[in-house]
């Protein structure tokens, strides 16, 4: 797969620690352009930190992240904000902020002192709200939205950034099943229709296998293995990474592998 598709992002031997604790240990990972890459792994394996390091929210001790072959440490914050969007885990904003005010925040990296808000910004905000189906509620306060609506509003905020790369850190946490599917179908649509490169952190392995083009298992701060869901969803590998014995069957509807965990190994 690596050979046919250009890599939008290349993580090279990235090491990162919080104090004495090593979180990422010489981790390397190519992220193919125009695909959905899903990072999965047990709690504390470093997948969230990896996602945040890709957006340079954490400075690595060594190694680098290349974006279109360019070291991101050389880009300034706004320039990076025009190329990589990140929706943090459990983001927050004032409850009385309107959906439109929230989505407008995504235009921050496109604004400069001498170049204030313009028609391009209005168009990007409108497109982001239409694409996520929140334009109807754009004057509602975000405190009045349901969990699923709120998540779509936040995704609209990231879309308004108009970045080629979109990173979402556990976007379906706290959502019920219907809204989990809703959210991930939306992300898939953005990927397929607009060709955006998507990197997701997902906890639910079956959702990961269903939506990933490239599935990455992160364990102990390194990439244990990566590949298509078909090659990754093996009971031996899942037992090794997640410490559960599991059976893999093929979902009769989507023809994707799904994992049925038995017990902790």
């Amino acid at each position: 797969m690596d050979d046919q598709v250009a890599n939008r992002i290349e993580v090279k031997a990235l090491s990162l620690s919080y104090g004495p604790e090593m979180v990422l240990d010489a981790l390397s990972l190519p992220i193919p352009s125009g695909q959905i890459t899903v990072l999965a792994g047990p709690n504390g394996c470093g997948k969230s930190t990896l996602l945040r390091a890709i957006r340079r929210l954490h400075a690595p001790q060594s190694g680098q992240v290349l974006l279109d072959a360019e070291d991101i440490s050389r880009l300034n914050g706004k320039a990076l904000g025009r190329r990589i969007g990140l929706l943090a885990q459990s983001p927050s904003a004032p409850q009385d902020m309107t959906v439109e005010e929230l989505v407008r925040l995504g235009r921050y990296p496109h604004q400069a002192m001498m170049q204030p808000w313009g028609a391009k910004d209005d168009a990007a905000v409108a497109a982001a709200m239409t694409g996520t189906g929140v334009e109807e509620m754009r004057h509602r306060r975000i405190g009045s939205l349901s969990g699923g609506q709120l998540q779509r509003a936040w995704i609209a905020m990231v879309l308004a950034q108009e970045t080629d790369v979109i990173c979402l850190d556990e976007p379906v946490n706290h959502l019920d099943m219907a809204h989990q599917l809703d959210c991930l179908e939306l992300v898939t649509r953005l990927n397929k229709e607009q060709g955006r490169t998507v990197v997701l952190v997902l906890h639910d392995l079956n959702l990961a296998a269903r939506y990933a083009d490239q599935l990455v298992f992160v364990a102990n701060g390194t990439v244990r293995e990566r590949g298509t869901p078909e090659t990754m969803m093996r009971s031996d590998l899942i037992e090794e990474v997640f410490n559960v014995t599991a059976e893999i069957i093929i979902d009769p509807v989507h023809k994707r592998p799904i994992c049925i965990p038995h017990r902790r190994s």
Binding site: R52, G77, G81, Q89, P94, L105, Y108, R140, S144
Partner: protein
């Protein structure tokens, strides 16, 4: 989350043009300033005010209007505008709607710095005292945020707790200086609570450039402040340079608070109340929040100053007492709504 959504489920008409709001506020400010010139222990007609301002004839009426009424009709709105804008920025920085220059101790810190500058360093020039007030506010913000961060995270309540503690300390220092300097008592008493009465007009011209610089700085930060309303991770991933923006915002807040304190002393709770009204009128974008807070703050302090002339007529009440009563009531309401 569901328990917090009551009362704000209705749609907000954000698309409406905000110009009628600004026009109404500007008109309100004009009316308030005219009220400040005409109403008081003595009532004057508009014709007398005009005559006194345009052609000072040396009469008692003209002297009162130009010498006593005019300074407070200018200083009150300028101080109110400065505190309103400072309040907006403090609430955004601390992500805390009950924060203000008062609850962070900035007013008290500025007062303390002025008193110490006068008594210890013998500073007498208005420019020097204004500088001391701004530096006092800046030092206080650094100390309060430093101590709160050191005590394990900048939680909204912790910042306020540290701020209120520091304000108490600063007041104690001012009181000690007061009791040990009886000769300067009258001059120093002013720095304990705010007032617009008996201020020379030179204070206004001294504070004006500081307020303008602070406001100009604030308006260059508006889009970054908008983004800072979200959590740090979101703001940082949008490309907001968090440390630089926070530092510059503190400087703007300190200039505005310091200028207000140097003109009027610590007028209580203006920066707490005004931002709530401003957001209700124009929404959460800082370009509008700051502009509306400046106008609402100016109207609020000017009207409070007029009200202070009548609450215990014929004697004047300190305006800081009027704003403290309104502010304390608002604070209790806000806390009750938060805890509900």
């Amino acid at each position: 989350m569901t328990s917090m959504v009551e009362g704000m489920s209705g749609p907000v008409q954000a698309d409406r043009s905000r110009w009628p709001v600004y026009a109404a506020l500007a008109l309100g400010l004009g009316v308030a300033m005219l009220a400040s010139l005409t109403l008081g222990y003595k009532l004057y007609g508009l014709d007398e005010v005009w005559a006194a301002l345009l052609a000072h004839d040396g009469s008692e009426t003209a002297t009162v209007i130009a010498g006593l009424r005019l300074p407070r009709a200018l200083i009150a709105p300028l101080a109110g505008a400065a505190l309103g804008m400072a309040g907006v920025m403090v609430q955004t920085l601390s992500r805390n709607r009950i924060a203000s220059p008062d609850t962070l101790g900035l007013n008290a810190g500025a007062s303390m710095a002025v008193v110490l500058a006068m008594v210890v360093f013998g500073v007498e020039s208005l420019a020097g005292l204004s500088l001391a007030a701004a530096l006092g506010a800046l030092m206080t913000s650094i100390i309060v945020f430093g101590v709160a961060a050191g005590a394990g995270g900048l939680s909204p309540l912790k910042i306020v707790l540290v701020g209120v503690t520091f304000a108490g300390l600063a007041h104690a220092v001012v009181e000690i200086v007061l009791t040990s300097n009886e000769a300067q008592l009258q001059q120093l008493l002013f720095w304990l609570s705010g007032a617009f009465v008996d201020r020379p007009i030179s204070l206004f011209f001294n504070g004006l450039p500081v307020v303008l610089v602070g406001a100009a700085l604030a308006f260059t930060l508006t889009s970054a402040l908008d983004a800072l309303q979200a959590d740090d991770s979101t703001a940082a991933s949008l490309g907001v340079p968090l440390v630089a923006v926070r530092g510059l915002t503190f400087i703007a807040v300190s200039l505005l608070t310091g200028a207000a304190v140097s003109m009027a002393g610590p007028v209580a709770f203006v920066g707490l109340v005004v931002p709530h009204a401003a957001r209700g009128l124009v929404g959460l974008r800082h370009r509008h929040q700051l502009a509306a807070a400046a106008l609402v703050g100016a109207i609020y302090t000017t009207l409070a100053d007029v009200a202070a002339r009548f609450v215990i007529y014929p004697v004047e009440a300190p305006v800081g007492a009027v704003t403290a009563v309104v502010g304390a009531g608002t604070l209790v309401l806000l806390l009750m709504r938060r805890l509900a």
